[in-house]
């Protein structure tokens, strides 16, 4: 098991090196960093001095090593736009996005998994079919339309929920959380719902198709032939066997939600990483973009590692193979 994790960590290091090379290329070769930093009045000599002091005249390999070392030690550099340290900017934005992503994931699981099981077991039933059609509409409509639609109904017409921003937050150290105030939770609801709808549909359809396959398998037939009660067959025997592929997809999706919640964050003016990324693109803030790229890659690597470990928790066969 330990060897397995060690091997996966080694692979992760290679992935991270490759991504940081990409980020470095972006940072170094998309436009001239110095030209973007300085105003029009700066003389050529001053520009040259800045270039020298930033180490931009060093050999490329040295530059990359410095870049990678800085990233690895948490020194992310400064934003061109705000002149703030990028680490500070990201730390202030990260909790908002993570909380949004987690809540939307929970919504999608709480609704998607039971709905998937229900539609698999009641194939062709009226309720099952209506669920399928409704969720099909859910994926077909772009996220921002759903967001605007929700704002229109719950924010404008009914006036129940706030339509933008995080509302009141409580700071625990540097982490500002929405979870501890009523207003924060209310603010969270609409964007999380918007973000959750698409995941929900995917989770539901995946659980449904996996469940249908598993229900046809011999061991379910054998369990039925032994007279095991239906609830245990569905939830203990069948559901567990559908989890491995479902977890893979949910893991990847969760990564995607956090990395690319840009649209939702911008519709709801949610001060998260997505909005930060959007601003960085608008102002060609390349250092922020490259750090963002590396962090997102890191997150995917971590999620994948967790997913792999979950496999081992669920499936004893994987556990055995990993132990070897």
């Amino acid at each position: 098991m330990i060897a397995f994790i060690a091997r996966r960590l080694m692979q992760s290091v290679f992935v991270m090196l490759a991504v940081s090379l990409l980020a470095f290329t972006l940072f170094r070769f998309v436009g001239d960093p110095v030209a973007q930093m300085v105003g029009q009045e700066t003389s050529i000599e001053d520009q040259e001095r800045i270039r020298e002091s930033l180490g931009l005249n060093d050999p490329i390999t040295t530059q990359f090593t410095t870049f990678a070392t800085n990233l690895a030690t948490g020194d992310f550099g400064y934003s061109y736009r705000t002149r703030q340290p990028i680490s500070e900017m990201i730390l202030s934005r990260l909790p908002a996005t993570l909380e949004l992503g987690i809540v939307s994931l929970i919504i999608s699981l709480l609704v998607g998994v039971p709905a998937g099981i229900y539609t698999a077991l009641h194939r062709g039933g009226i309720l099952a079919n209506s669920i399928l059609i409704t969720t099909l509409i859910g994926v077909s409509i772009p996220t921002f339309v759903i967001g605007i639609f929700l704002i229109f109904i719950f924010g404008v017409q009914l006036g129940w929920l706030p339509t933008f921003g995080r509302g009141d937050v409580v700071a625990i150290g540097w982490w500002k959380t929405n979870f501890l105030t009523i207003d924060g939770l209310r603010s969270l609801l609409l964007p999380a719902l918007t973000l959750g709808v698409y995941q929900l549909t995917l989770t539901m359809r995946l659980v449904r198709s996996e469940m249908q396959d598993v229900m046809k398998s011999d061991f379910i037939k054998f369990a039925t032939a032994r007279g095991i009660n239906k609830r245990s067959i569905h939830f203990n025997h069948a559901l567990r066997n559908t989890l491995v592929p479902v977890i893979t997809i949910i893991g990847l999706q969760f990564g995607g939600v956090i990395a690319f919640s840009i649209v939702t964050e911008s519709v709801f003016q949610w001060p998260g990483m997505g909005l930060l990324f959007l601003d960085s693109i608008r102002y060609v803030d390349i250092p922020v973009m490259s750090v963002y790229l590396v962090l997102i890659a890191l997150m995917f690597v971590v999620i994948n590692l967790i997913v792999d470990l979950l496999y081992a928790v669920i499936d004893p066969r994987v556990r055995n193979r990993a132990a070897k």
Binding site: M10, F219, K221, F222, T224, R226, G227, I228, S232, R317
Partner: protein, 595 residues
């Protein structure tokens, strides 16, 4: 004693355990209703083992599913009745039926690899089943589970029961399945091909276990199988089915000893015999009526003779009969000290020694000879075939083909002449043909790939001719593999091998996925091809009786090692190695009919 067993004891004298009368199961389809089971009558007493035997499509599994109330949608019981100790159980509502399942009727499935939940411990699955039907607390249920596992022959059951299914071997797993089917004291067990996925030695033990349990516990057993040998070995009574109808029914000794019906006789004649070699099998049936009448569609100039001509003009095939060749020519293939190791790797932190699938095996085959390779699963038979055909790399030893060194998979170039000259027919005709290509495309590929003919009228003519040679209508070339039955597909697979004009054919269990009648036809075909074209065949099978019918020489493998190598008739009359004797003893055959 539970209520149900008392009930059963009361009924035992009056009526049989299970009565099936005039059972008809229909499956609605686009072309009207198809009767999968047609007016079937069965009667089973407690402690009796009743065999249902027949080829695929005979409806034997459907009868089993109907009895336990697990017919798959859209199949339904159209008419007739099923009575368990006199009580009508046909068309009970699902919840009432569910109370019967496991409690009074239980089932054993074919493949122990798939019939246990891979994610749950054996103990959890057993205890859950016990607690479902009996008011026992966890400890008592666990104790009962341990006893049951011991009864079915699992050693150190107490420790092993907390393992997962994948930690058990196939035979052990089937014992666990049987323990699970027994754990609620059912009155009737339906065993659907319970030993088909197992090796002969394990099969023997499992059949013995079923026999003992039936007698000791007075359980009625319905044994569904395609294997007449199994029927002969274990059943008291047998019902022969064909296309959903009963052909013949009665005590096993009578039905198999003096069969009254032609079909039963033919079915038995088609079973390869272990006790003697027969030149040709009796042909029972025309495989499929739908392809008759298609014989009128032909390509001009295409005929079996054309194919024969073409195959004989190749440089390697020799147009003489095999008899004159035997013992005179040098070996076409020599294998010396061949070993194959899987999974050997040293990667970062891990060094795996690997698993030796084949250990220092040596053999040689003369031109025109059939060499039979026999052994149980895991003996390395298929690995040997794959090493020769160049699919798996070898770790040591060498091979010589036609006197030339034959490089292993890694060193053998794509255009090495042996890649054409050695062809392979795989076990499963359902997965060995590409379902998205027409038969013509499948058969033309070897021609163009090896540069034997240009795509066009020539290749069309050859494809049609070779199809004719393997006794398929020429029109078959227009269709896709899924439109054919298993036997027809295997013929197409043989045709594909022939398209390369090989001199050496490797058949890896070519008939084990087929019914006996179809197996007989295919074996006849292989014999014909072999004698016409002087083909050399490496024939791999776990079925000793089949090998006896085909092989001139026999090699016995066990766990990758060579146990015995001998001339075929000599081997079957007086095997030297103890393991070979055991294999021969354990192969079920018609001679074992219970007295």
């Amino acid at each position: 004693m539970t209520h149900s067993t008392q009930n059963f004891a009361k009924h035992q004298t009056m009526t049989s355990l299970l009565d099936v009368t005039d059972l008809t199961v229909s499956i609605p389809s686009r072309f009207g209703e198809f009767k999968a089971v047609d007016s079937v009558n069965l009667s089973i007493k407690a402690g009796e083992i009743h065999g249902l035997v027949g080829e695929s499509g005979a409806g034997k599994s459907t009868i089993g599913a109907a009895i336990i109330g697990l017919l798959e949608h859209p199949a339904f019981i159209e008419s007739g009745s099923i009575r368990l100790t006199g009580e009508e159980i046909t068309n009970l509502d699902d919840d009432t039926y569910h109370l019967l399942r496991g409690n009074r009727i239980s089932m054993i499935f074919q493949d122990p690899q798939t019939s246990l939940n891979p994610l749950l411990k054996i103990s959890d699955q057993l205890i859950e089943t016990i607690q479902q039907h009996k008011a026992l607390d966890f400890q008592a249920a666990r104790q009962l589970a341990i006893e049951l596992l011991e009864e079915t022959g699992i050693e150190s059951a107490e420790q092993r029961m907390d393992e997962y299914p994948h930690q058990f071997s196939g035979g052990m797993r089937q014992r666990v399945v049987i323990a699970m089917a027994l754990c609620t004291d059912p009155e009737l067990i339906i065993a659907d091909e319970p030993t088909t996925a197992l090796d002969v030695s394990v099969q023997k033990q499992i059949l013995k276990l079923i026999r003992e349990l039936a007698q000791q516990r007075q359980v009625g057993v319905i044994l569904i199988t395609h294997d007449i040998g199994v029927i002969a070995e274990i059943t008291d009574n047998v019902t022969v089915l064909r296309n959903g109808r009963i052909i013949e029914s009665g005590p096993t000794i009578q039905v198999l000893g003096t069969p009254a019906q032609d079909y039963t006789r033919a079915l038995m004649a088609a079973v390869p015999r272990l006790d003697k070699r027969i030149e040709r099998f009796v042909n029972i049936v025309n495989e499929d009526k739908s392809i008759e009448g298609e014989a009128t569609w032909t390509i001009s100039g295409a005929s079996a003779e054309h194919a024969t001509q073409w195959l004989l003009t190749s440089k390697t095939a020799t147009p003489t009969t095999t008899d004159s060749l035997k013992n005179t020519t040098p070996p076409i293939l020599e294998v010396n000290d061949l070993s194959v190791t899987f999974g050997k790797k040293s990667q970062w932190f891990i060094k795996q020694p690997g698993f030796k699938a084949l250990k220092n095996v040596s053999l040689s085959i003369r031109r025109g000879e059939v060499l039979g390779i026999v052994g149980e699963s895991g003996s390395g038979k298929s690995t040997l075939a794959k090493a020769i055909v160049g699919l798996v790399p070898t770790s040591s030893g060498d091979m010589r083909f036609n006197g030339q060194v034959l490089p292993d998979a890694n060193a053998r170039a794509r255009n090495h002449p042996a890649r054409r000259d050695i062809q392979m027919v795989f076990q499963d005709p359902y997965s060995s043909l590409n379902n998205r290509r027409t038969v013509e495309a499948i058969l033309t590929e070897p021609l163009t790939f090896y540069g034997l003919a240009k795509k066009g009228p020539d290749s069309k003519k050859l494809v049609a001719s070779v199809l004719e040679l393997v006794e398929m209508p020429q029109r078959a070339m227009l269709k896709y593999p899924h439109q054919f039955s298993g036997g027809q597909r295997q013929r197409i697979a043989v045709a594909r091998a022939l398209m390369a004009r090989p001199s050496f054919l490797i058949c890896d269990e070519p008939t084990s996925a087929l019914d006996v009648s179809i197996q007989a036809q295919l074996l006849n075909l292989l014999k014909d091809l072999q004698s016409h074209f002087g083909l050399t065949i490496l024939f791999i099978s776990h079925n000793l009786a089949v090998v006896r019918q085909m092989a001139d020489h026999v090699v016995v493998l066990k766990s990758g090692e060579e146990i015995e190598q001998s001339e075929s008739e000599l081997f079957f009359s007086s095997p030297k190695a103890e393991y070979s004797q055991q294999l021969l003893r354990e192969t079920p055959s018609l001679q074992m009919v219970r007295g």
